[in-house]
C-alpha cells in the first residue's frame, strides 16, 4: 500500500428520509496531524465518520480523494483496504479470546503456516502483535485472555488491530468516554506517538480540553454543516463553543417563577460509581428544572444513581410527604416518580405490545380487581383512550402495536404512560429526542400544562434552545460535577457555557 499523503473530502452530503444529516461538507487532512471534529449531538459527526469508515454512502456529488485520486468506500472492507481504520466508541473485542487473536481477528486465514496449510501459525501471530504493541509502548501480554484486561487496554487492542490492518488514517470516535484519567493520559501519549509516525488522525470528542491539548486543527459541525475549520492555535474555547452552538433565538414560552413554592425533592451529595460526583440540588413544586451538560457529563448517570437504577455510592435524597421533607430510600421514592428514559426503543417501551398495554403498564395495579387481581380491560381501554386524546397520539385505536407508530407518537405514548401514573415528579431524559418539530411543541406544552397543575419536572436536554425555553432553572453539570446554576432571568448561551468553559480552563492550568 502506498503512503497516504492527503485525504480530501469534497462537498459531502448525506440525506436520510426527512433529515439532512450532512450538507456540503468539505475538508482535508494530512499525515502527522490530529484533526479534531466537534459538534453537539446530531451535528453530523458520526455520519461523517461512518461515511469515511464505509458504513454509509454519501449522496451523489460528493467526492473523497486519497492522494488526489477519487476513491469509493463502499463497505468497511473497502475502507480497510484503503488504509482507513475506525476505532469505535464501543469497544469491539472478543472477551473469551486471547490478546493476539483479538488483534488479528479480522483475517485469521492470513496467518496459516503456509498457503495450503490448515494450521494457524500462532508463533508468527504473537510476534506480529508483539511488534505492534511494542510500537504503541504497551506491556500487555499477548497471551493474556482479554476479559482480564482493563477498558483502556482493550482500547489499545483496537488501536493495535487498526495498525495491523495497515491503517494509515485512524478515526477515533469518543475514545475517552469510558476511560479513567490515567488511561486517558496514556491514550494521548499513544496518539501523539502515532502522530509523530505520520499517521492521519481524526479525533471526535465532546471534551473541549481534549481537543485543545491533542489536536492540530479542528472542524466544527452544526446541523450537518461545517461551521468552523481552524488551526487550534488560532482559536480559544469561547470561539469554539460559539461555532458549535451558533446564534440562537432566546425565546421564552413561559412566564412566572415557581422557585418560591415549597421544596418537594432535595438531593444531597449524589455520587455514582464513576459519575456523577457529589451533586446537590433542590426541586420545587411545579418547577421545571433543567439539567444541562455535554454528553458524558454524567447527566443520565445522575438520574440513574438517584432513582436506584445504578448503584448510588453516596448521598441522600429527601422527599416531601405529608407536608414534611424527610429522607427517603430510592426504592420508596420510585412509586412517587416517573422516569422517561433516553432510549425510547431500548428501555422506554414494550415495542411489540399495544398502546393500551404500554400506557397502563406504569400503574397496572389500578386496573386489577381487589379479590382475584383480574384486569378490567374495559377500564384500561377507556383510560388509555382518554390519555391518548390528552397527549394527542395519532393512531387508529388503543390496540395498535407501538412499533408501528412514528417516533413522535411513540414518545407521546411514553408521556401518556407516566401521566397515567400521575407522579409528583417526572424525570425526563431527552424528552424530544428524534421527534419532529410539531410533536416537540406539543410535548413541551404538555409539560407546561402539567407543571401548572403541580407536577415537578427534572429534564435533561442536549438542545440549548429547548432547555432554555422549557425550564425555570437550569443546573449545569460537567464531568460529573455541578458547576453552575442559572435562573430564568439569566438564561443565555453564555451563562450556561460559562460554567463549562471555566472548568475547562481550570483543567488546562
Amino acid at each position: 500500500m502506498e503512503k497516504i499523503q492527503s485525504l480530501e473530502l469534497k462537498n459531502i452530503s448525506k440525506s436520510f428520509p426527512g433529515v439532512k444529516a450532512l450538507s456540503d461538507v468539505s475538508f482535508s487532512a494530512y499525515p502527522g496531524k490530529v484533526c479534531g471534529i466537534v459538534g453537539v449531538n446530531g451535528a453530523g459527526k458520526s455520519t461523517m465518520m461512518n461515511i469515511l469508515g464505509g458504513l454509509l454512502q454519501p449522496d451523489e456529488g460528493g467526492k473523497i480523494l486519497i492522494n488526489g485520486r477519487e476513491v469509493m468506500i463502499e463497505n468497511p472492507k473497502a475502507a480497510t483496504e484503503l488504509g482507513i481504520a475506525f476505532i469505535q466508541q464501543e469497544i469491539q473485542v472478543f472477551d473469551t479470546m486471547h490478546v493476539y487473536e483479538n488483534v488479528l481477528a479480522a483475517d485469521f486465514d492470513k496467518w496459516r503456516k503456509g498457503k495450503n496449510s490448515l494450521v494457524l501459525d500462532r508463533k508468527a501471530m504473537k510476534k506480529e502483535v508483539q511488534k505492534h504493541l511494542d510500537a504503541l509502548g504497551s506491556n500487555i501480554d499477548v497471551d493474556a485472555p482479554v476479559y482480564s484486561l482493563t477498558v483502556g487496554e482493550k482500547q489499545l487492542l483496537q488501536i493495535a488491530r487498526a495498525l495491523s490492518e495497515g491503517g494509515q488514517i485512524l478515526l477515533f470516535d469518543e475514545p475517552t468516554s469510558s476511560l479513567s484519567d490515567n488511561e486517558i493520559a496514556r491514550l494521548f501519549e499513544i496518539i501523539n506517538k502515532l502522530k509523530a509516525q505520520g499517521y492521519i488522525i481524526f479525533y471526535i470528542s465532546h471534551f473541549l480540553d481534549e481537543i485543545f491539548s491533542l489536536c492540530d486543527n479542528v472542524i466544527v459541525l452544526r446541523d450537518g454543516k461545517k461551521t468552523g475549520d481552524a488551526l487550534i492555535s488560532d482559536i480559544d474555547k469561547e470561539k469554539l463553543v460559539g461555532m458549535m452552538l451558533g446564534h440562537m433565538v432566546e425565546g421564552n414560552a413561559r412566564s412566572g417563577v415557581r422557585a418560591q413554592s415549597e421544596v418537594v425533592l432535595k438531593a444531597e451529595h449524589i455520587s455514582g460509581v464513576r459519575l456523577p460526583k457529589d451533586i446537590s440540588f433542590e426541586l420545587h413544586k411545579g418547577e421545571i428544572l433543567g439539567v444541562w451538560g455535554l454528553l458524558g457529563s454524567g447527566r443520565s448517570e445522575l438520574f440513574n444513581a438517584m432513582l436506584g437504577i445504578d448503584k448510588m455510592m453516596g448521598g441522600r435524597i429527601y422527599y416531601r410527604e405529608n407536608g414534611r421533607l424527610e429522607e427517603i430510600s430510592q426504592k420508596k421514592l420510585y412509586p412517587h416518580i416517573g422516569y422517561l428514559t433516553e432510549g425510547r426503543h431500548y428501555d422506554g417501551l414494550f415495542l411489540d405490545m399495544s398502546i393500551k398495554s404500554n400506557i397502563t403498564s406504569s400503574d397496572i395495579g389500578r386496573f386489577a380487581s381487589k379479590f382475584l387481581g383480574t384486569l378490567n380491560t374495559k377500564k384500561e381501554a377507556v383510560e388509555s383512550r382518554s390519555l391518548m386524546k390528552q397527549v394527542n397520539v395519532k393512531a387508529t385505536d388503543e390496540n395498535m402495536i407501538v412499533s408501528k407508530l412514528s417516533g413522535g407518537n411513540q414518545q407521546k405514548v411514553i408521556i401518556a404512560k407516566w401521566f397515567l401514573k400521575d407522579p409528583d415528579i417526572l424525570f425526563m431524559d431527552e424528552p424530544t429526542k428524534g421527534v419532529d418539530i410539531g410533536a416537540k411543541a406539543e410535548i413541551q406544552n404538555l409539560i407546561f400544562e402539567k407543571s401548572e397543575k403541580g407536577m415537578s419536572f427534572v429534564i435533561i436536554s442536549s438542545e440549548l434552545e429547548e432547555i432554555m425555553s422549557l425550564c425555570d432553572r437550569i443546573i449545569v453539570v460537567y464531568e460529573g460535577r455541578l458547576v453552575g446554576e442559572v435562573s430564568k432571568a439569566d438564561f443565555s448561551k453564555d451563562s450556561l457555557m460559562k460554567g463549562i468553559v471555566s472548568q475547562e480552563e481550570k483543567h488546562a492550568d
Binding site: 469491539q92 473485542v93 472478543f94 472477551d95 487473536e101 481477528a105 494457524l120 500462532r122 482480564s148 496514556r186
Partner: protein
C-alpha cells in the same frame, strides 16, 4: 488473586472426575480395573463423540437439540445399507457421516438463512429424523451380525485388552481438538460465538462460519452414530434417546458456555462426558437402582451450572482494581 481463582475453576473438571473415580473405587466392587474403565469409555464413546459434535454448535451459540437424532439417523442409515444392500462397512459409514453433515446443513439453512430459533428448529428436526428412521426400519431392530462384530471384538493385548474402537475414539477427539485449537476456522468459530456483531463488523463472514459449525457438528454426530452401531452390534429403534440433553449437559459440565464463545473439546467436553459416564457406571457397579442414576446426573448438572455461573461472573467483572495499579507507571511519566 483473580487469576488464581480462575485457575482453580478451570481445573475443576479434573478434580471432579478424580473424586468420582476415588469414591467409586472405594465404594464399588472392582470398579477401578482397566477392564471396567475400558468398558465404560468404549460403551460411552457415542456420548463422548456427540458431546464433541455439539460443542461446535454451542461455541457459535446454537443449542442444537437434534444431535442425538443425527447420530441415530447416521447409525440407522449405515446399518440399513450394510444389512439390506450389503454395502462395504467403510462405505456405509461414510454415507452415515455424510447424512449427518447434510442434516447439519439443513439445520443451518433454517437457523442461519431463515433466522429461525435454533432450539426449536433442531427440536423439530429431532422429531422428523426419528420418525423417518423408524419408518425405514419398520420399528424393528436391525442386526448387523458379521459386518461389525470383528471391529467390536478387536482388542489390543499389549494395552491390557483395550478395545480397538478406542483408537477411533481418540482419533476423533484429537481431530476435533485440533480443528478447534489450531485452525483459522476454530478461531473464527470462537470469535463468532463470543460476539457475533463484533465479528461481523471486523469482517468475519459469520453466516458461513455458523453454517460450517453446524455441518461439522452434524458430521461428528454422524461418526458417533457409527460408533453406536458398532458397540451395540445392531440398530435398535430407541437408540441414542435423550443423548442431546446428556451431551449438552456434558459440554456445559466441561466448561462450554451455552451463550457461545467459550469452551473446548479436550479437556472440556471430553471430561464433561467422562464425568457423566463414570457416574452411571460407578453407580451401577455399586448396585444402586438404575432409576437413581438420572437423579444423581441431574444433581451433578446443577452443580456444574453453578460452577459455570461462578466462572462467568469472575470473567465479566471488569478488573477495576488493576486499573490504578497498571496505569500508575504510565502516569508517572510526564
Amino acid at each position: 488473586m483473580r487469576t488464581k481463582k480462575i485457575d482453580i475453576l478451570s481445573y475443576s473438571n479434573y478434580i471432579v472426575l478424580a473424586i468420582i473415580l476415588i469414591v467409586f473405587a472405594i465404594g464399588g466392587n472392582n470398579f477401578l480395573t482397566l477392564k471396567s474403565i475400558y468398558a465404560t469409555i468404549n460403551n460411552g464413546s457415542p456420548l463422548i463423540i456427540i458431546t464433541c459434535g455439539v460443542t461446535f454448535a454451542l461455541l457459535v451459540g446454537v443449542i442444537d437439540l437434534s444431535v442425538g437424532a443425527i447420530g441415530y439417523a447416521a447409525g440407522v442409515a449405515a446399518g440399513l445399507l450394510m444389512n439390506r444392500l450389503d454395502m462395504p462397512v467403510a462405505l456405509a459409514f461414510l454415507c452415515g457421516i455424510a447424512l449427518g453433515v447434510f442434516i447439519g446443513w439443513v439445520n443451518s439453512l433454517f437457523i442461519v438463512k431463515f433466522k429461525m430459533n435454533p432450539m426449536l428448529v433442531s427440536l423439530g428436526m429431532m422429531l422428523i429424523i426419528r420418525a423417518i428412521a423408524r419408518i425405514f426400519t419398520d420399528d424393528k431392530t436391525v442386526t448387523l451380525g458379521d459386518h461389525v462384530s470383528a471391529m467390536r471384538k478387536a482388542r489390543v493385548a499389549a494395552l491390557g485388552g483395550m478395545p480397538m474402537l478406542m483408537f477411533g475414539l481418540i482419533a476423533v477427539i484429537i481431530v476435533c481438538t485440533f480443528v478447534l485449537r489450531h485452525t483459522p476456522f476454530g478461531s473464527k468459530l470462537l470469535a463468532v460465538g463470543c460476539d457475533e456483531k463484533v465479528a461481523r463488523r471486523i469482517g468475519i463472514n459469520t453466516d458461513r462460519i455458523k453454517t460450517a459449525a453446524l455441518m461439522t457438528c452434524g458430521g461428528v454426530c454422524g461418526i458417533a452414530g457409527c460408533f453406536w452401531i458398532v458397540t451395540l452390534g445392531s440398530v435398535v429403534t430407541t437408540g441414542l434417546n435423550s443423548y442431546e440433553f446428556l451431551a449438552i449437559a456434558a459440554a456445559v459440565l466441561g466448561g462450554t458456555s451455552l451463550l457461545g464463545g467459550r469452551g473446548s473439546i479436550y479437556p472440556g467436553s471430553v471430561l464433561g462426558a467422562l464425568i457423566l459416564l463414570f457416574i452411571s457406571s460407578g453407580m451401577s457397579n455399586m448396585g444402586v437402582s438404575i432409576y437413581a442414576i438420572p437423579f444423581v446426573r441431574g444433581i451433578i448438572i446443577f452443580i456444574a451450572m453453578y460452577v459455570d455461573s461462578l466462572r462467568t461472573q469472575s470473567m465479566l467483572k471488569t478488573p477495576m482494581s488493576t486499573v490504578q495499579a497498571k496505569s500508575a507507571p504510565a502516569a508517572a511519566k510526564p
